[in-house]
Symmetry: D2
Subunit: 337 residues, 4 copies
């Protein structure tokens, strides 16, 4: 293994190009040297300016480049599984954006190939690397909070996505709450065994017409006996509301939203503080970087990744259960077998 | 009606005596002149020192006192309905501690007598008068938050009650979360139509052996389309955790816990602030007083009380639904008919 | 000494009547039984309703009442010394509003009489009893903060007093910062040995025309080596700004302003919280009560009062020094001899 | 002018190398292509890895490189003026670390050369670019706070520098408070006209033996009538305490310290939050970067820099005045002529 870990990236859309910029500018010990995308020409100038030397239309050519040690799969969701499998079989370590797939069998295939090939695999649940949430998780892990009793996640977007997106995304539990399903597993240190969901259409009737809800609360039971709750809304007019709380036998820790500055303004009107960040690129700026730092450490030191392929599988499985519960009005068991 | 409203109180236990002290010392325009309790002798000295002139063993004698204009029912729960009915029939306005009764039919009887007699009736949900929660409610009422979408209540006690109490109280949904059932109705400005509960025994196995849970999360659907969630624990080692949040179409307001001082201490150790109040007498000190101020205004100005007998009925009804849902694992409809 | 300590009060203006209401309603173990004021008739109804039995025009009659054990001097400033001396000579314990007098010799006379007669004497620096400031003081006293290095007080009024008041009050250092001079002595646990003042007329030119400043900063040196700073403004449009901070060898503690509720409102506009209290009656409500609780304890348990006559002397002395420094532009030494 | 602005840097110590890393990795539109240092060999590997192509021992060779458009002067203080002048005369724009010099005449020479040559010149007062302080400044500039009345800066280091440094630095007013002198000018939008200082030796007697103080408070008068205060300590055991506040005719804004996360931990012990950053590299990370972004904009868009050479001159001048005042005990006038 070289001193500098050499990455290839498949998919050079907005997120893919952000990964390129982050890794090649901000992360020592790693470099994206190759990129593949059907529409690679559109991104070619920017990629070259950021030091990416090899550009391909076909991701298979990228996998054939022997210098590439690890592959970032940032293409469209329906290609994640196929490319991940091919990369693993080519002996490359794999970083795959979430969800790995919406088909549980396909994800299992990925799991199997990862196991057989022994490559490192990390799923792109970047929020695990958020400074606030990670600190709460550490307080669980180091025993400060005792046994977790209640895990709580609030996650609200500033505005709904285009209705076309909603129609194909699989709905709020798949395109939005999936992050929170992973978060409660991360925070509780335990597996979800049962899910109950309620939802409502309060933001936009078109979302309801598309068969989805835009406001939802899900309660969860964990294998360790803890219980949890997640609430989501497609539209928080005040910004991107991202908070977590763990309540345990020895205490409680909660993470509030970040704010750009600490300034408080006092006038004849009520005191004001800064608004919270508007959306995920502002809020999770460092988490997007830190997930790769950890991935690189996992590879270099041959340690398990902080988000495994199994983690990717579980989140999708819970999303199915929540969707079903929201429709049927009944709790749905989740089992990892 | 006299300038100073004259009260009688039935039941002179800890809470009853607190009401006497609050009203006779801190509230202008009202005076407790009479008290009744089977064990009135034990409290006689304190009551007299606080200006209560007429002491009775039998509450009927108190009701026969023509100077008494309003009666506070602070006796044991199983006598609330009977005394409330007798007081109303005697033409007295009634302030009744919660719950009015555990039997829904008995509460309905109270409702009917109140309607027939036209007396003012207020149920002792003191938390509606808390400065923090009332402010959040005002932000709903004045339209600042728009239509409510998600209502959230966290309510955790510092330590479980004696196991003997748990065995007779009706369980966590009746003796603890009943306050929160009232709170979500208050905050949402809407009726609960469906309840789903999950619970766990994580604090004390004896509580489980008594057929109860000590940790619970309940989700609710409201008639206006909003959804809500309440979480309870019998034991928050850091104190009496009482927070609410309303998220609506135009914004979100949240009330954090009060703290005794604003002082922050910075040393070589992490910065500390004051601990939150340990229990309800510390936290709801002013709410216990303000509920009577409002009751007095309702009587003097002939306005509806801020917590009606119907409010008392609804909370008990929701507690039954939550208890059933927690046992069956299924959502339970709530209907006020 | 009786179980209930019997007070007389001289001066039944706004503050005097507040003391009556506080003591007779809220404080167990004490009762104001007598009041004297040249214009006693104007307050007679309210005083009687609050249980004051004996009303006099001449304070000497009040002092002649053998039931009166302690006297509150709440008359106009120019009569404080005379009445305090007469009360002490009549064997009454004395609570005297600040300042004891503006003439240092007259205060010394009071000090001497207090010493000779051995009565308890407390000066009305109520802010020492504020929950926030007292907590900071305790952190100094118990050693948490180590040796004090920097003591900082911010004290800003919501609006300037009438210009007629400014003309006779002695100026900002006598009518406003005098509280802060006491506060820095209280917080530092040490005597002021030198004062430097700068001032400006920024709020109202009439204040300048009256020979006063409306904005001022004073630095102080303490006998224990610490240094301090106080800033004052006659007009903080956002409310009554009252904060303190002690920085020491082992840490720093700071007290922020109180707010009526903990509610934070998030909308499309910047997040808001409650405004701070508008003025001293709202902010120091409990401090006004607690100063008497401590005075009563001092008398009943024969302990030194928390604010002595010497404390009253020192504050006035520092106010003279600050006034001189602000005019001369030079530091002024302070010595307690 | 090329698309990418080409920098040379003189001085490749710790701060110099941080500038190289920041500019070459994090700032688009600029690149450090050349570096000069007597001990350039020690830094050569790191500089090359960060893309610096031309390395020199003699800064004059760097100035002779026609590709270099702007020079960063990060060498030892006693060489700042000489190199700045030479760079300006070579037609290079100049970014000079603070202080420009300790000799006011030498700084004036720099001012003159800058004026004659018309190059852009920025002094390294990085704190002006801090997100918190800049926001407060903006609230002054946009009129939200009205006319400034009181400007307050608290600046405390976590631990004193080596005593050898104190002996040659010029003392606390030159090596530490000089940043705050610039800050009050920045926040008030006005010039300092008079300074009064008090100091104490409370942290380390050796500092006193070296003729310096380790704890100091300085009050200031501004040309616009406002007054201000700065407090400094060489040792805040809880970390790097950096706060500012501006109080004006229309309101007050204050910037509290940053904290790494928003997490609050509640256990049986008092609630804790994160400690503040330990020192300036942690706290001013972004300010160190943003000062160059603004410098580049000034050059590219031919606008005045946000910190001029005059700003560098004023801060040193105030430091002399404060030093004199602390010794003499008298206020010292400051005049920019």
């Amino acid at each position: 293994m070289s001193d500098v870990l050499k990455f290839g990236i498949v998919g050079t859309g907005r997120i893919g190009r952000m990964h390129v910029s982050n890794i090649n500018k901000l992360i020592d010990g790693a470099e994206i040297i190759a990129a593949a995308d059907l529409y690679i020409d559109a991104a070619a100038d920017e990629l070259k300016a950021n030091g990416v030397k090899h550009l391909y239309k076909d991701y298979k050519e990228l996998l054939a480049n022997p210098d590439v040690e690890a592959v970032i799969v940032a293409s469209s969701t329906d290609t994640h599984a196929e490319i991940s499998i091919a990369a693993a079989q080519a002996g490359k370590n794999v970083f795959c954006e979430k969800p790995i797939d919406k088909d549980l069998d396909k994800i299992k295939e990925v799991l199997n190939v990862v196991k057989e090939t022994g490559v490192k695999f990390q799923t792109g649940f970047n929020r695990r690397f958020d400074h606030n949430f990670r600190r709460v998780r550490d307080l669980v892990t180091d025993g400060t909070l005792g046994d977790p009793h209640i895990v709580r996640v609030t996650s609200r977007d500033p505005a709904p996505p285009p209705i076309e997106y909603v129609k194909v995304s699989g709905g709020i539990f798949f395109d939005m709450m999936i992050h929170d399903f992973d978060m409660v597993r991360y925070l509780s240190g335990s597996e979800v065994v049962e899910v109950s969901a309620i939802g409502a259409v309060l933001v936009d009737e078109e979302i309801g017409a598309a068969g989805d809800v835009d406001t939802a609360i899900v309660t969860l039971k964990f294998a360790n006996g803890a219980i949890g709750v997640i609430d989501n809304s497609r539209q928080a007019v005040y910004g991107y509301d991202q908070r977590v709380e763990v309540f345990g036998s020895k205490g409680m820790a909660k993470a509030e939203n970040d704010k750009p500055t600490t300034v408080e303004v006092n006038t004849v009107d009520p005191p004001t503080t800064d608004k919270i960040p508007y959306f995920f690129l502002d809020r999770y700026t460092n988490a997007f970087i830190d997930q790769f730092k950890e991935f690189i450490i996992s590879i270099n030191e041959d340690k398990p990744t902080m988000v495994t392929a199994e983690d990717g599988y579980c989140a999708v499985q819970i999303a199915y259960a929540a969707t079903e519960s929201c429709r049927s009005g009944k709790p749905v068991k989740v089992s990892l077998d």
